[in-house]
Each structure stands twice: as structure tokens, then as C-alpha cells.
Point group: C2
Chain length 423, copies 2
Amino acid sequence: MSRTAELVSTGRELLSGRVLNTHAQMLARYLAGVGVELVRDTTVSDDVAAIAEAFKGALSRTPLVFVTGGLGPTPDDVTRDAVARALGTTVVCDPDALAFVKQRYAQRRRTFNPASARQALVVQGAAVLPNPVGIAPGERLQVDDRVVFVLPGPPAEFRAVMAEHVLPWLATWLPSTAARPERVFLLCGLGESDVVTRMQEAGFPPAGLDVAFCARPGQLELRLLPSPGAPDAPALLESAAGRLRALLGNAIYAEEAVSLEEMIGRLLTERGLSVAVAESCSGGLLGHRITAVPGSSAYFLGGVIAYADAVKIQRLNVSAEALRREGAVSRAVAQQMAEGVRKALAADIGLGVTGIAGPTGATDAKPVGLVFVALADDEGVLVHENRFSGDRDEVKYRATQAALDMLRRRLIERAGPAAAGGE
Amino acid sequence: MSRTAELVSTGRELLSGRVLNTHAQMLARYLAGVGVELVRDTTVSDDVAAIAEAFKGALSRTPLVFVTGGLGPTPDDVTRDAVARALGTTVVCDPDALAFVKQRYAQRRRTFNPASARQALVVQGAAVLPNPVGIAPGERLQVDDRVVFVLPGPPAEFRAVMAEHVLPWLATWLPSTAARPERVFLLCGLGESDVVTRMQEAGFPPAGLDVAFCARPGQLELRLLPSPGAPDAPALLESAAGRLRALLGNAIYAEEAVSLEEMIGRLLTERGLSVAVAESCSGGLLGHRITAVPGSSAYFLGGVIAYADAVKIQRLNVSAEALRREGAVSRAVAQQMAEGVRKALAADIGLGVTGIAGPTGATDAKPVGLVFVALADDEGVLVHENRFSGDRDEVKYRATQAALDMLRRRLIERAGPAAAGGE
């Protein structure tokens, strides 16, 4: 049996543009951990016929089908009914689920009414999966040799039922087999075209291997994997990985699925250094990203969001003269922000970010996307000038990506010479 | 012909958990603007057979089909081939597209090679839609009375081709008809169960109307719409909207699609007030959200990210005594942070956020999710204690949502008495 799965996401809100559908991404990550590949996500509205049709299609193609959303108490929560209809069966009230729903309502001091009882309905024959953080339970159904999971839509409930009931069950149900070998490389500070050019010049990849790219703002993911039909060749992958490291050097920030902010956390922790941030155009996003890592309080002291010029002067000791002469978006101000926050917060390293996020504020000399990023440490201060494309959100994000990458490279440098073949 | 559309999103990265698929959300928003409803998104891998099958299914159901991704130069970019196969035709090299691709490579100082030329291939008979910000063009195909758009996958390119080529074309192709009337209400600071209870007690909604809910962390969207089969009744909607306002009062922050941070921008601008933030557990996210609004520099001065206690003491004048006695996560410290940043940055209003985002740092008395939010202005200081559920990301987000909502309510209060029937 193939180790593939499909997802059917339900909910009008997912197709109206109001809510971003994160189920496919969450599910794919969970499934990758048990060696199952998600091969399709079909998102449909809260419509019995559409859900039933999409569900039947998925069940005809894969041995493992997930259906999410539409398990609540309101009349547009019709997923149970759709799955039952597709399987030619019906929904029944599960007494344990009913007791559980009543208990949840009592805990939350909410009035239990006939509508609430809908959440105790399950497809006939389903195993009920109690919801650790919400009300409506999930369900597991066996359909011949196939398995169906019906899971709540709210992301926190989806994750909780996955972790508590689905993954442990899958781990025993699935025969354990070795995953197909591949290597992942996460890159920062080098464009896709530069990477492709370096590879072309070096005649990379060698026969028998393919390279898959995925570009995101300020980041590039590169996967090295055996060509279709080619035998899995660990030795070939190993030697190609070595060549790639020589080719791309420090632009490779990780060879595993880890965020740039996590990698920086590891480097700062290893070196026992602290960091503080001074943010103008990024508005706090740099601090937010650094503090997305659990335990970041060990190396992140804090920062100053210096949006107004007066804050730059009074809180970061930026000179009024520099602001007047060069403007807030300038090399001089970025440098003084990094130095200022390093000193004000008594950090080992200070980062400064100032730029034009747009859509307004640009001049001929200073277009939207112009961002200066500076790093100050005990040896001095570095400033990089960047010109980013994209809208306000993207410019802010790329600015923080540039600042984090500058910090990463500096931390690697401080530890000694760059890796062999580095840039 | 029904005003519906389907999307086929392609790309292994969308199903591997590495990249979040934002196409459905973007497309739905664009289509809503021209009165078209997105009814299904099917996400498949870079596989000719899977794309062709999903595309054929979509074309059999709706008059308008969008296919995104897989138009680049690499061997796994196979969308053109799949669409051509499904339509029983072939791909051809378009000379204008080829000239355009070559010009783009020259502009970017990249070497044009045979692989690059793949980006000039289009399905036979397609109208070519030049890519304003990238390389590979989009395509428009007429298939009997149906229309297919094949669009690049990178979000910025997708948006640019949509705006430049797709929407103007749709506006002329589609007969203009009035959209189905509905009312949207965005709520903050009131849970779904409380809203449902108030409605039940009031016998709301009246016959002929339905209410659709969509809950997100710290926010609830409620739509009032005519029941299926019920005649569109503007007067009924109007009077129900009035009842809902009386029932929910200030918990309604908007009756249009607008973010809480945008609404706060409007209120601050109207009242001519400035704000500054002091962030501990939110780590900069509050500043980031406020500065996501273009033009926010008119009312946002900046803030202090006070992650370390020393920063709270030295930069925000929090008392060492309060930190020792009450701990950093306490009512007293939140209050002093709000007052401290208001004074340090000379703002009209100061916001303070301190809490335990988890997964570590909790004690028996102070669980993960405990967050104090404070607001200081010229009349004094308010502190709210919150207990949020969710993981680190969600606690941080909910903390900023609570701070923004506290600011919103205070700004409404300052302007005079709350709306009739308000809480």
C-alpha cells in the first residue's frame, strides 16, 4: 500500500479569502514525521454534496484520508453528514461524546442546548477521538483497507487531536520503512539565479541526482534527491552534498528543517552572546521573530522600536545632525541605531534596521525597499545597503531576514574562519 | 452561467509542509471583488498526470478555472504540459514571450540558456500575459464557453499578473450583477459562546436570516445573510443589523473587512493621539502589527521591547522592588511598563504587555497563557488580566489582540459614551 494521504478541507471561510487554510501545511508536517506523503488537498465549502464528492474522490485514490472542519454546533457544520452520505451510512449520537460535550459546556459555564448536542453526533461505526482542547471530538473510520480521520477545523484543536490520537495510532498502523533519502539545504543571502549560475558553471548536479528549488522571500530551499528511476544512492548524495557545500559556502544556513531565527538562537547560545535590536521600518518584527523561539530570553535582551525620529535621538542616541543631513533612512543612522541599542541595553551585539517599507515615503533617491541593516559588536560596526522588492509586508520581512542573516554570518566569522569554499 | 471559479494549485512544496499555500486566499479576495465565488481549491504535486486530472475535474464543474505554479525553468515545472495534455493539445514556443524572457535575463544579468527558454512555452492557442515582476508569463485559454487562466506561483508574480491582466479582463467578460446582500460584523473581546448565548436569549436571528460564524484567535467574524430560498430582503437585514448592534455593542469593531490594527489607526488619527508600546512576552509583535498599516508613522512613535528585567528597569522605569515582589508577569509590572513607555517616548497613550508565552517559564501560580495588558493615558492606567489558550505563537498573538482591543475600547470611550446597548 502506498504511503500517501489526501486531505479534504471544508469551510466557506477558507474559500472566501477571509481565512488562510493552514491545514495542509500542518498535516503535511505531521505526516512527514511518520513517512507519509500528502499528495492532494481539496478545499470545498460547507456543502454536503461538495464534501461528499471530494471525499469519495480522495478515498478512491489514497489509503489514508483526512477531512477537517465543519464539526461544530451550527447548521453549516455538515461534514459528519457528508462523510456518512458518501459511505452510504448515517450519523448517530455517541453517548460518551455527549457526556464529554456536556462536561465541556459546564466547565465553560455555557448553556447546553439541542444545537450543542450536534457536536456529539458521529458517523456510524466511527471510533471517537476526544478533543483535548475543544468540544467537538474527532473520528476515525475504517473503510475496507482504508482509514479516514475526521478532525476539527480550528488549528489548535486540529493539532491537539493529531498529537493525542492520530499520530500514535498511525505509528502503529503503518509498517515502518526507511524514507527515500534526500538532502535539504536552506540558504540565505544568495539569490536563486546566483545559485543556479554557480551550479551550471560547476556542472551540478551530477547524473543520477535532481535538484528541487523552493524560493521564499529572503530564503531559498534546495533539495538534492535521486532522479526518478535512479537507484537510491547514499554515496552519490553524500559526495554531491560535499560539492554543494563547497559551491555555496556560508550561504547554506542549515541542512535540516530549521528557521533562521532558531539557527541564530543556537549560535548565540553556543557563543554565550546576547543581542538587542533597534527597529525602525521593521516596526518590531525582528524582535517578534527572534522571540518566536522558545527560550530566546537566554540571549535576547530586547530592543527599541524607534519609529519616530525623536525616539531615535532620545532612546538610541542617534545624532540629530545625521538625521537632518542624511535622513532617517541612511547608512549613518542605521549604524548609530545598532551602536545605540547595543550600549543602551548593554548587549554584546546590536542590530539596527531602517528603511522605506512603502507604499508611501519614497523619494527619487530613496525608493520603496531601500533598507539599511547594521550590526555593532565589540569590534566595530558593519552596515549593509539592501534594495528589496515587494509590498510593505514583504519589505518588512526581507529587512528582518537580512538582519538575521547578517547576525548569523558575523557569529560564524567570530568563531573562526568561514567553512571551506565559503564565499 | 454560474459565477463560480475553481483553483488548481500545483507544487510539491505546498504539500510537503514547507510552504503555506496562500493562493486560494488571494484569489478568493480578488474574485469577490468582481462577484465571483471560489468554490474549490485542489492542491496537487508537480506531477503531469495529477495536475491534468485535477484540472479536468475543475473544468467540468465551473466556467472559470485558475491553475497556479509550475511555470519556471526547472524540470519539475510541468504545469503547461499538464494543461496541454488535459486539453488534448500541445505546448509551443511563443516568440514574444521568448523575447520577453531574454530581455528579463539581460536586465538581471543572468545567463540565458536552453532551460531558461522553457519559460517561453505556452499552451497552443493561449493568450500570453506578460509578467510585470517576474519572468514566466501567465496564459489565458478559451475552452468552449469556459475560460482558463494559468498563472505564476510566486505570490508577488501571481498578484501582479492578476492585477494587470486577469481582473481587467474578467470585469469586461462577466456580466455585472448585484452581489447577494449580506452584512459582516467583526468582533473582538467577546467569545463565540457568549455571542451565541446572547443571540439565543434574544431569539436572534429572525426568520429568513442565517448567521455564519468564523472564529479566529481573539476575533470573531459574524455574517448575517438571507436564508437559502428566502428572498433577498434589504429591510430585514437592516433591522436585524440594528438589533445585533444593540446586542453586542462595542464588541463589534467593524462592519466591513478591516483589521483591528487598521481600525485603531483610524481612531487614533481621528482623535489626533499618539501611542507607544512596551512589550515583554509579545516580543515586538504589537509594534509589528501596528506598523503593518501604511501611514502608521502618523500616530505610532515606537516602543521598547523589554524582554530582560534589566531593560524593564532601566528603559521603562519599572521598579526593581515590583519585579522582585510580584514577578515580571504581574499586574504591577504591566502597569509600570505602560506608564514608563508613555513617559519615555512622550506618547499620549502607552500600552504594556507582559505574560508567559510558553512552552517554558510557567509556575503553578502563573500558567502558560497568563498575560497582563495595561493602558496608560492622561487619565490614569488600566490593567486587564487574561488567560489565553494555545501555543507560543498563539499566546503572543492573542496578547497583542487584547492590547489592541483595549486601546480601541479606550479610544471609543474617550470620544463619549459607548454605543447604545453597549457592554
